[in-house]
Symmetry: C2
């Protein structure tokens, strides 16, 4: 029997660069992580593949899954549902693979509720001033929009306490290296490996 | 104010290669760990320096320190005391440096009692058969001696549950890399860094 894989959750404030870090991780060749494919009710775009880019479902199918508690987390965004199908995650974990989830903070908190044993990594800006400049430099938004984004970012940093690790996104390659180290170290936890040693002793 | 350093405790069964791994770590140039100097009542050998190789003390001084609860752990071995002076460890941790301790399993358990916040790493043999061959190949011991060493090793592996991480000593360089990764990852724990982010928010 294989050991169940680890659920790795990468999250962090808006604009911190979660997507960029996630892409960089999956662009690397030596990578044992399985990317968790999201489910959505939004229309399939040209070139997108069902079961690869997303699991595309109707609103009715998605709401049915919500009722059956079949989602690890979900949210509604601009009239469409986005979520993480629980069954897919469980099946992948059971096969011994680590599952990697990159989601917004609110989604990550839902996952913490349902799978507290997951490894929760909070991607942080190198400093709050840096975060502010990232939020501001995104476009030509009004100052009130910027202010509210800023407040939200501060709220999100306060949510950090629900996470296991904080990784500073000073450089994408640094953040990627740290996240990969965290996954490796988590596999060295005695609580995860001791049963193998106990088995070795029994077989002596 | 600097953050207090981490106490890193490397331990494991007799003959597993703790000393070799520790030496390899401290032979590396980029190394932020401070090696914890032991205190002993054994005679100073030629070339040894007090405060560098050991803190050399008289039996009376050592027993006085035991009474004052001034040792993180200690043991008697062939008529001499060996131990870890608490004050030295605390002072180094307070200066922001990580302290590295390489000790026997019984000593590690004493440290776990006194400093449960330490990071406890259990160095394991690649397999029990491999451990047996290491125990046997040490010298020309009688089989009864070997058997009792073996039993002790099994007992020690059962003690693994008091540790945080298990690192397999398949190759010294692999074990060294894993231990260094563990130290880095432990510094990324939210519980250790969140106060810095809270301070940043306050200063905004």
């Amino acid at each position: 029997m294989v050991d169940r894989g680890l659920l790795i959750v990468l999250s962090g404030p808006s604009g911190v660069g979660k997507g960029t870090v996630r892409k960089a991780i999956f662009e690397q060749e030596e990578n044992d992580l399985e990317y968790s494919i999201s489910m959505t009710t939004r229309k399939e775009r040209i070139g997108e593949i069902d079961g690869s880019d997303y699991f595309f479902r109707t609103k009715e199918q998605f709401e049915d899954l919500i009722k059956k508690d079949g989602l690890l987390e979900y949210a509604e965004y601009v009239g469409n549902y986005y979520g993480t199908p629980l069954e897919y995650v469980n099946r992948t974990l059971d096969s011994g693979k680590d599952v990697f989830l990159e989601i917004e903070v609110q989604g990550a908190l839902q996952v913490r509720e349902k799978m507290p044993e997951g490894i929760f990594i909070f991607l942080t800006p190198p400093g709050l001033k840096e975060l502010k400049s990232r939020i501001v430099s995104r476009g030509t938004d009004e100052s009130s929009v910027i202010e509210s984004r800023m407040e939200r970012a501060i709220e999100e940093i306060n949510l950090m306490q629900h996470y296991d690790y904080a990784v500073e996104n000073d450089k994408v390659e640094n953040a990627v290296a740290k996240i990969k180290d965290i996954v490796e170290c988590e596999h060295l936890k005695v609580s995860r490996v001791i049963h193998r040693y106990k088995k070795m002793i029994e077989e002596l």
